[in-house]
């Protein structure tokens, strides 16, 4: 059988291309967003053959140990996901100047020479979803279900609200939280409470709990809006739009730069103007004729940087 591929003592920090890269994320494996980000590294592996690995499901109190071990095992760049790990990288990076770190989907920029922050902004995609919702609502009431009331979830909500108001001024937005990102039943119930108050288009930002939101919308013959990746297949026919978070390509682009000697520290924003995908072509193609041009305009404006969202 395969023997163990590493040993903690072999700490060679060769930053050369053809090295290896690791993604450390705070969600257990199977987390859809973590996998999305990792798909960026896998794409890199497909192209350049560099070894990639994903370490998942660790507790906050073990982050530091995991990051340190990754460095000692010679991974470069070490890619981490979200704030908690970003904080750990911030404090560890100065001790390991030979290793480059990438912080993905966070706004934390420690301003260190070996740390790059890859911001993947959800507000633009959420804005498009809002445009859709504003146009699609018949009752004038739309819903937003977050997994928990957190700043990053607020970004989705904020972009969504901006889009909806742009499409239908005075639209009423109901906001609720399922209190969990992993409980579809809770998501469904929260959505139902919004539906019983008249919401007819519901967007979620609640990961797996969101599946319940989409299900509830489908069951009540309302409209659901998917998030992060294309969710048109969740409750067939009732999720006509998904707000994508193009983390895979963003990570891929940054990691490719890093492994090819073009590592740049500082903030790297991956948005519409940089080529991020905000929606799935299938959704756009499926839009009703009257809505399609409006949506296309919004997309073009975002790409052109004509719309600034204060989120």
């Amino acid at each position: 059988g395969e023997s163990l591929n590493t040993s903690a003592s072999s700490a060679d920090s060769s930053a050369a291309a053809g090295g290896k890269s690791v993604l450390i994320s705070s969600q257990p494996e199977g987390d859809a967003f973590g996998d999305l980000v990792f798909s960026g590294l896998q794409k890199l592996n497909g192209e350049t053959g560099i070894e990639v690995k994903q370490i998942a499901g660790v507790q906050p109190s073990a982050y530091e140990q995991q990051v340190r071990a990754a460095v000692q095992q010679g991974y470069n760049p070490v890619v981490v996901l979200w704030d908690d790990l970003a904080n750990v990288v911030t404090s560890l990076a100065p001790s390991f100047p030979d290793t480059n770190f990438m912080i993905v989907d966070s706004y934390i920029d420690p301003k260190l020479a070996n740390v790059e922050t890859v911001v993947i902004d959800p507000t633009q995609a959420a804005y498009l979803a809002g445009i859709y919702a504003g146009n699609a609502t018949k009752t004038g009431t739309i819903g937003f279900v977050g997994g928990a009331e957190q700043p990053v979830i607020e970004k989705y909500r904020c972009g969504y609200l901006a889009g909806a108001e742009a499409a239908k001024p005075g639209v009423k937005l109901l906001t609720s939280y399922s209190g969990s990102f992993t409980d579809p039943t809770k998501g469904q119930q929260v959505a139902n409470s919004q539906i019983s108050q008249g919401a007819d288009v519901l967007m979620h930002a609640a990961n797996k709990s969101g599946l319940g939101v989409l299900q509830a919308a489908a069951a009540a013959k309302k409209t659901g809006i998917g998030v992060d990746f294309w969710q048109g297949d969740v409750a067939a026919g009732s999720v006509p739009w998904s707000a994508l978070k193009d983390a895979g390509t963003g990570t891929y682009t940054a990691a490719k730069n890093a492994t090819s000697g073009n590592f740049k520290s500082g903030i790297f924003t991956w948005g519409a103007q940089e080529g991020a995908e905000l929606f799935d072509q299938r959704d756009l193609d499926g839009l009703p004729a009257d809505l399609k041009p409006k949506m296309q305009t919004a997309i073009d404006d975002l790409k052109a940087g004509k719309i600034t969202l204060n989120c």
Partner: protein
């Protein structure tokens, strides 16, 4: 002697099953032993990491043990650790102090947090005879929600450069309040010393002093205690609060030694692991240290497996659970009996 044999047998069973699982995943039969080696003596720092994990386990185990000695099932160690962590992080922001004082203040605050969270359950149990198993379990959920709410409303961390923070966390504590680490290559910090001292004092008190005598008596024979003039309810109440205090201390040490801020959703399962530590030690203060060390190795091995192999992290938890099953599938009657004795009362 039979006890030792028992544990050896359990370890053998655990090792066998763990190796089996790894070999099913395509690794060599000795892979798990290799993981264990790496996780304990594989590098100069591996052993320090084991001790780093032993630290909170020892304290959370002790927290559970103290309550169990008087017949309470403090399933709320989890929540008490969490609140302790929050308090310890907050005091650093609210009350900046010079080096040693800042550490002490954080620890005292953590202890206060743990006591605070144990207090309602302790009072309800003492004054109204409300079953603490339910109340402590429920308050765990409340602790998570309330701490999140509190931090979000009043103490949310600011991001350098004005960006948005994504998770609910406080700003980093002042450097003065951080527990010094022994080396930058391991998270092991001064907390270990604190934990060892507290555990040693607790073991002494429980096994050699009048207080310990009274607590054992209260836990095992309430009517005997009454007959002996021991204030049963008072002792049990005090033990409950001390249990909360030790849990809070565990939270403070994790915060000041490792996390350096309060992070919502952190410290997951630390309380429940502590409970297992204590139960595997059959609530014996001496066995507790060994048990915590054993769980420390297990925990560090989990991390090493995830670094060194591509085995699913879920499978790794299964392996740990199997170890625990092997160690527990044995007459750990003591606690069960205490529970029964309580029901009969």
């Amino acid at each position: 002697m039979s006890r030792v044999l028992r544990y050896v047998a359990a370890a053998a069973i655990g090792l066998f099953v763990a190796s089996l699982i790894l070999s099913l995943q395509g690794y060599s039969a000795g892979a798990f032993l290799e993981v264990l080696r790496m996780a304990t003596i594989g590098s100069p720092y591996a052993f320090l990491d084991v001790l780093r994990w032993t630290t909170p386990l020892l304290l959370s185990g002790l927290a559970f043990l103290i309550a169990a000695r008087v017949g309470y099932f403090n399933l709320g160690v989890e929540g008490q650790i969490y609140v302790g962590s929050l308090f310890s992080a907050l005091i650093s922001h609210l009350l900046p102090l010079p080096p040693v004082l800042a550490i002490l203040a954080g620890i005292v605050a953590g202890i206060a947090g743990g006591v605070l969270w144990a207090l309602p359950c302790a009072w309800l149990a003492k004054r109204w005879g409300v079953n603490e198993v339910v109340t402590t379990l429920m308050l765990n959920y409340v602790a998570v929600l309330l701490c999140t709410f509190f931090v979000k409303q009043f103490f949310l961390a600011k991001v350098a450069g004005g960006g948005t923070i994504q998770t609910i966390t406080t700003d980093k504590i002042e450097a003065n309040a951080e527990l010094p680490v022994f080396t930058p290559f391991s998270g092991l910090n001064l907390g270990l010393l604190l934990a060892l001292i507290v555990a040693a004092v607790a073991a002494f008190v429980l096994m050699r002093t009048r207080t310990g005598y009274e607590l054992s008596a209260v836990g095992e024979g309430p009517r005997f205690s009454q007959f002996s003039g021991i204030p049963v309810h008072k002792r049990r109440f005090q033990a409950f609060l001390v249990s909360g205090a030790v849990a809070g201390l565990a939270g403070a040490i994790e915060t000041q030694g490792v996390l350096h801020s309060f992070i919502a959703g952190s410290l997951d399962n630390m309380g429940f692991n502590g409970m297992l530590v204590s139960l595997v030690a059959m609530n014996n203060p001496i066995g507790l240290a060994a048990s915590a060390f054993f769980f420390g190795i297990l925990q560090n091995s989990q991390l090493v497996i995830s670094q060194a192999t591509t085995v699913s992290s879920y499978l790794v938890t299964v392996v740990s659970a199997l170890f625990i099953l092997a160690f527990a599938a044995n007459p750990t009657r003591f606690l069960v009996d205490t529970w029964r004795a309580r029901r009969e009362r």
